[in-house]
Every structure is written in structure tokens, then in C-alpha cells.
Symmetry: none
Subunit: 496 residues, 2 copies
């Protein structure tokens, strides 16, 4: 049994290395790839995907999984957890024909390039053929695991184990109504003046330096990570010792760089905090996309939008950008940080409106896979729903249906996990505050070790050992994602 397990670990170690290498190629593609090398890179990623698929579905691996799964490991052991994850992935991979693996990998690479071109031209029709191809392939993929009526559930399950459209409808239905009501109530108070942010001078190098210093203070380990610039901020890991963040600077949005970097830092702290013993196993991962997002959102929102956080950081931020902020009081600044406004771009949306952007995307992608909607109609549907949920209409496709990269890479079923992340974050935040009564004071003093310690202890170190439901139960006492904590948190944030 021990010898079998050692052989298994060597096989899955190779697969983990190939996955890390693919991630590095994707990181490079977003950050440094010369434009003329698109096709070359697509080919390299395809070769790696095919190799990984061959190794992930080898008969030898299947035999070892079967034999070891029958060997009776303690269900709470790491070995049992590894085998559980492996069996799930193995089944999934084994059902995929090689042809489909290669086609999906290529379509995703081409999808990204088409999306970038379409975005530049702000013309959805330039992206439409690539998107249709991706959806057709993803439909074929999902059909391997679920009957036609539950195609979208198969996609969801890739990002959030066990999640279904029915469960999402249960959660999102009441949430959307209540969240819309809250947004209307806040907006009705009248506009918040944040012109000093929009019009002030905040030099890019200062923004980047401040973001770096802040995440360093929060606990991001630069010895095992780095920050680069990319169009769309993201976090990627090539093992717990190499967890990289990207960020960007947006003219006229001087908090965007800082808050994006803190958001990505939340993801990165999760990656850097996983038990090193899980290296090169499927446990060196987050429990789910929703859980991962809970970590980024908790730092971005619960922490970095709080009065306590800015009690510590505002004097520093004000000093750094004294030209723009010299005459701006703490209260005025905090109001601007927490300004609520119905706006066009998800990644720039405030906390109060953010989930509405997600639910829009969820409904559209679910509709496309249900064949309720056609791809050709996505632009108009998008624009109509923006009017319905947020009262504004995108003036062009770049600020509408083309704003996110996810569909371009074939990641359907991903968006809902952002909203789930917000809900999970609120559940964890409530628990952390109950256990750590001094948390607010610590944060007001620029100290984050208590909070990071709580997250490491209760979430990060376990990696993907537990299912999302198990982990949520271990951490908060409840296995169910629900919106109560989240709505309570929103009401308190906006004093409603």
C-alpha cells in the first residue's frame, strides 16, 4: 500500500508540474508575451494540455486510484482526501476524448485573442464566432457528465463542487430582490462627492508602491511571489512557493490599483498558506472557486472598505498623495471609498451593486446553455438586463458584454462563484469577529496577524482537503451558503 501510494504521488507530482507549467505559460501570455507569438503560445499550451490529459487518464493511474481507494484509509486522512479528489478528476478526464481536450485548449487560446481584438474595436460581433465555438465545445464537454437538462450544472461543478443551478436559484432569487432594494435605498440618499478622487493627481508609480507596501503589511510574502502589471488583474500559482499577483493602474480611479491588489493578495494568501506537505498533489489548491473568492473579497471589502482599515492607512495615503488629498477629511474620504453607484463595469463596481452584475452574467450564461438564449442576442440581453437591474445602459460593447475575459477562455459557470464568495466571506467574517473581539482594533492599528492567523488556521492550510460544504461547516458551523450574514454585513456597512 505504501509503495503504491509512493508511485501514485510520483505520477500526480508530474501532473501537478505540468499544470504549474501551463499556468506559467498563461501568466506570461497575460503579462509579457510579444503580440506576434499568439499562435506559437496556443500550440505550446495545446501540447501541454494533451500531455497532461494523457497522464491524468493513464491506465496505471486509474488502477492505483482504484486499488488505494479500496485500501481503507482513515476518511479524515490526507491520503483519503487525495484519493477522493483524484477519483473525481480521473473520471472527469477519462471521459474526455483527446480531440475535445485539444479543441478546447485551442479554442480558449483563440477565444482570448478574438476577445482582445473585439474589445479593442468594441464590437461584440468580432468575438461572437469564437464564443459560439467555445460554447459548442463546452456543451459537448458538459454532456459527458450530465443529461441535456442539467448541462449547466456540469459546468458549475467544475468551479464549485456540488453546486447546481437549482441551489443558485434558491440563494440568488431572494438575494437579488433584497440587494436591489438596498441599492435603491442607498442611492436615494443622493450623490456622494468623490470628485477629489476622479480629478486629483495620483501618479501611477505612487499607486503601485502604496499597493505593494499595503499587501506586504497584510502578509503577502514577496519571497514566494511577485507583482506584475496586466490588463486584467489576476493571481496564479505555480506551487505554494510561487504565487504571483498582477494588478493595474486606471486613470481617474486611484483606489482601483490598491483595492485590486488587496483583492488578489487575498487569493494569494490562500495559495501561500496551504500546508507545504500538499505540494504537487491535488490538495495544493483552494476548496472551490467560491472559497477562493471569499478570501479575496474578505480582504478587499470587509477589511479594506472599513473605517478601521483607513484609520491606519488614510494618513499614509494622504501623505503620499498630499496634492490631491491634503484638504480631504477622513470622513469625506471614507464616504468616497464606500460610494455606491450603479455603474457599468463589474470589476469597478462597489460592494452594494457587485452581486447584481454577477447575477446578470449567471442568468445569461445559464440561458445560453439552456438554449433559452442565443449567442447572437447576448449583447442586447446584456444591455437590457443592465437597464433592468442597475438602471443604466452600456454605451458600447467594451463596457458591456465584452468587459470580462471569462467567456473568452471558456470559463462558463465561473461567474456565480464571485457572488458565492461574497456570501461565504460574510459568513467567515461574522465567525472571525465572534472569535476575535479585538479584530477591529487590531486592524485600526495596521495589524493583520490575528485575522490572517484565523484564516490560515481555519481555511488556508487545508487547501482542497475538504469539500466546500465540509470546510464551511468546519469554519462557521454551517455547511450551507446563505445570504443572511452577507445582507447583515451590507446593512451595517451602509448603516441601513
Amino acid at each position: 500500500m505504501d509503495r503504491d501510494f509512493a508511485e501514485l504521488k510520483s505520477l500526480i507530482g508530474e501532473i501537478a508540474d505540468l499544470t504549474a507549467v501551463s499556468s506559467l505559460l498563461e501568466w506570461d501570455q497575460q503579462v509579457y508575451l510579444p503580440p506576434g507569438a499568439e499562435e506559437t503560445r496556443a500550440q505550446q499550451l495545446e501540447t501541454l494540455a494533451a500531455l497532461r490529459h494523457a497522464k491524468s487518464t493513464s491506465a496505471r493511474l486509474g488502477k492505483l486510484i482504484d486499488r488505494l481507494s479500496a485500501a481503507g484509509y482513515d476518511p479524515d486522512s490526507d491520503e483519503a482526501a487525495i484519493l477522493r479528489r483524484l477519483s473525481r478528476d480521473f473520471e472527469r478526464q477519462r471521459k474526455m476524448p483527446r480531440r475535445l481536450v485539444a479543441a478546447l485548449s485551442r479554442a480558449a487560446a483563440h477565444g482570448q485573442f478574438a476577445w482582445m481584438r473585439a474589445r479593442k474595436a468594441t464590437d461584440f460581433t468580432l468575438f461572437q464566432p469564437a464564443l459560439e465555438r467555445l460554447i459548442a465545445l463546452k456543451r459537448e464537454y458538459a454532456g459527458l457528465f450530465q443529461p441535456p437538462s442539467r448541462i449547466y450544472d456540469a459546468l458549475l461543478d467544475d468551479f464549485e463542487e456540488g453546486m447546481t443551478a437549482a441551489e443558485l436559484d434558491r440563494i440568488f432569487g431572494p438575494l437579488r430582490r433584497e440587494q436591489s432594494r438596498l441599492v435603491r435605498a442607498i442611492v436615494a440618499r443622493g450623490p456622494v462627492d468623490d470628485s477629489f478622487l476622479r480629478n486629483g493627481r495620483f501618479h501611477a508609480s505612487g499607486q503601485l508602491a502604496f499597493a505593494r507596501e499595503t499587501v506586504k503589511r497584510i502578509g503577502y510574502d514577496f519571497n514566494r511571489g511577485r507583482i506584475d502589471l496586466s490588463t486584467h488583474p489576476f493571481t496564479t500559482e505555480f506551487g505554494a512557493n510561487d504565487v504571483r499577483i498582477t494588478t493595474n493602474v486606471r486613470p481617474g480611479l486611484p483606489l482601483s490599483c490598491l483595492l485590486s491588489t488587496i483583492h488578489e493578495c487575498g487569493h494569494a494568501l490562500y495559495g501561500q498558506g496551504i500546508d507545504p506537505a500538499y505540494a504537487r498533489t491535488p490538495l495544493a489548491d483552494g476548496a472551490s472557486f467560491g472559497f477562493h473568492e471569499s478570501q479575496s473579497r474578505l480582504w478587499e471589502n470587509q477589511v479594506a472598505h472599513s473605517a478601521e482599515f483607513w484609520q491606519f492607512f488614510y494618513p499614509r495615503f494622504q501623505r503620499r498623495f498630499s496634492g490631491a488629498l491634503g484638504g480631504v477629511t477622513f470622513e469625506r474620504f471614507l464616504q468616497a471609498v464606500n460610494k455606491v453607484e450603479c455603474s457599468l463595469i463589474r470589476t469597478e463596481a462597489d460592494e452594494a451593486t457587485y452581486n447584481l452584475h454577477i447575477m446578470l452574467r449567471y442568468e445569461l450564461e445559464k440561458g445560453v446553455f439552456d438554449e433559452t438564449f442565443r449567442v447572437a442576442d447576448l449583447r442586447d440581453l446584456w444591455n437590457a438586463k443592465m437597464v433592468e437591474y442597475l438602471g443604466i445602459e452600456p454605451p458600447d460593447d467594451a463596457r458591456g458584454v465584452l468587459q470580462d475575459i471569462h467567456w473568452a477562455t471558456g470559463e462558463f459557470g465561473y461567474f456565480p462563484t464571485y457572488a458565492l464568495g461574497n456570501l461565504i466571506a460574510a459568513q467567515i467574517w461574522a465567525k472571525a469577529n465572534a472569535e476575535l473581539p479585538q479584530l477591529g482594533m487590531e486592524i485600526a492599528n495596521g495589524r493583520f496577524t490575528q485575522l490572517l492567523g484565523f484564516l490560515r488556521e481555519n481555511i488556508h492550510r487545508f487547501g482542497a482537503k475538504y469539500t466546500p460544504a465540509q470546510l464551511l461547516e468546519r469554519c462557521t458551523g454551517s455547511a450551507r451558503i446563505d445570504s443572511k450574514c452577507y445582507l447583515d454585513y451590507l446593512r451595517s456597512r451602509y448603516r441601513l
Copy 2:
């Protein structure tokens, strides 16, 4: 036959992709890898190397090579050239016992660590045991391909196909005598004042910007490449559409950044100029290390040390660094660019003395593999030869026998290709000037398309299709590397 060839191309395409991916990981390691991730990266590279080795020695590949080699392709066809390169590599890989592959890779890793420690302590004896181990393993490796009397030839052949010690002795013997004489004659003229370079202010960002502008003008395609910073400048390619340069800025050596970048640009132009039809085949490579170096040296020396080059660039350089160069005339600057000085470090040596550094290394490594010399004596031999060839004695091992990394990674037989590159560059340069009588005037006007066109047409596009000797003959009419053109060039450069 066509079907077999298509299968062959798919197999070698995978191998080429894995090689490109490994190169990307190595590039990232030199340029962006967080310090804490070294071990993780080593593991990823090891996994890729094992995969590549398995694919490069598969029975199926061997069978296809055999069958297709017997199929009678036109000897001048691309197919025949691919098969020739493949047979050579396959035999080489297949003869290597796995044990030796692993032992060499470990010894190279340990060699680097020992070298770094020894260099820090400036004590050759700390490096000696690791070096002895590497030499023993390399001797075993070479013995797989050559009888004991020609061990070193097998090593040479890895870097310069067909090259032998006998041929090098034929070339280097007279060259060394004449080059020493030239150096003595130049040095006897008395010192050149370049204090304005050593003491002037040349801000790093200006140096980098100037280097970028210059290589862009020369013809480096930023759409298929990029420039980053690393400790030691290098060029690496992940296909002809992604050929990257690194460079650096050295305090007190303000021409180093520009000239290094031009040197690397020379390598990169070769990579970017290879026939796109050779992508993912062994032909997407240079003809040899010597040929590759000829391209970097031609741009660095023949072009970027010429009066014509600086006629165009000096006014721009002077404007950019007006504080340091405002009062420096063109003649004084050009003298400083072409200053000759007997110095300790190969990578900082000028054109006139550089080959003497190489011949010293060649004689030592050949002597060790011939068993004329013992490893224990290398330090004293090095120092004695430095006195003999350049009239100076290294004050310590770090600036003597320990200065280069090549032996620490087991790359014996590499050094001679630097000198061969200088000779080949001069042969090509003579031919180019004979065919393009306006070349000097073109360069003086900052125009490089004639020269680049000549190199692309006669060298770059062929990639590794021809042996170095065949390519040299096609380009210059002579298959033999000889020092006549080079010595003529040196005499003209230094007006001797």
C-alpha cells in the same frame, strides 16, 4: 512516406514545444522567479527534461527516422535535413544510459553550487572536486561517441558540428601569435583616455531606452520579442515568433548596456529570421554555436564599433547624455569605444584581446581531457598563461580560473565557439562588403536593411538546415573557418 513524415512531424513538434516551454521556465528563472521558488522550479524543469528525454528516444521515433532516412528524399530537401539532424540527436540521446543523464544533471547542479561558493571565497580548491567529477562524467559521455584519443572532439561536436581539436589547432596556432603581436602593437601606442565614460553620469533608464531604440532601428522585431533585465544578458527563443533578449546596466561601464543589447540582438535577429516553415522542427535553430556567435559579434563589433555606426548614433547618444558627453568630440569618443587594454575578465574584454582569453580556456580544457593537465593544476596554468598571453596575473581566483560558469555546468567545448564566431563574423563581413559596396554609407545614415537583408538571405532563413561548413561555403564561397579575414579586419579597425 507522406503519412510517416506527418507522424514524425507531430512527434518532433511535441518535443520542440517541450523544449520551448523549458526555455521559458529558464528565462523566467533568470528574470522574474521569486527567490523562494528555486526548488519548485528545479522540480518542474526536471519533470520536463524527463518527459523530453522519453519522447526523444521513443522506439516509435527511432523507427520513423530509420524508415524515412531510407526513403530517398532529395539530399537538398528540408525533409532530408530534418532527418539528418534527427538521426544525429537520436543516436546521441539513445546511447546515453539513464544513469549517466541523471548523474550529469546532478553533477551540473552541484558544480554550480560549488562554483558559487568557491567564487565567493575566491578559492579554486573548493570547486576542484566538483569539477573533477564533472570531467570524469563528461569523459564517460564523450567515450560513448569517440575513441579515447578523440574524447575532446566529441565534446566540441556538441557545440560545433564536425569541429575537431586538430582543426582548432590549425586555426588557433597562427592566430594566437599574430593576435598577440597586434595587441602588443596597439598597447604600445600608450593609454587612451576614457575617464569621461567611467566618471560621467549615464542614468540607467536612459541607457535602456537608448539600447531599445537602437536595436529597434537595427531591425529587432518587438512584435516577436521583448527586452527584460537579468544579471547576465542572454537571448532565448520559444519559436521564431518569440525571441527574447535580456540586458543589464553596469555602473561605470556606460557602453556595456548598449553593446550587450546589440550583441544579444544579433543572436535574436538570427532566431527571428529563420524560415517560418521550420517551426517545431530541429531546423528552427542556428547552424552551430559558432554561427550564432558570428551573428552577435558581427553586430556588436563590425557594426557597433565602427566609425560609421557612431557617425549616426553619437550625436544622439551625446544629446541623451549631454552632461557627461557635452564636451567630448566624436574622435575622442570613438577612441574610447575602441580602447584596447589587457584585462582580467573575458566578458569585459575588448575585441583585440578577446580571442586570447578564449584560446587560454581552450588549451586548458583540451589539456585536461587529453590528460596532459591535471585539474589540480588549472589555477596555476591559468595564471601562467594570462601572464604569457596578456601580461597580467589574476590577483585572485574569482578574477582568474573561477570567472566563468561554463565548466561548472559541464559545458566543455563551448568556449572555442566564441572565437570561431569572431572569425566567421569577419568572413561574412568581408563578403557582405564585397556584395554591398554602399554598406558603410548605409550604416552611417542609420540604415541597416541592406545588411540585415544580406544576413537573412544568406544565413538566417536556413536555420539549422545546413552543417556549419556547408552554410559557410554557401555564404562566403569557402567551407573553411580561417583567420585571414578576421586579422585583416582587426588591422583595419586599429589602423595597423
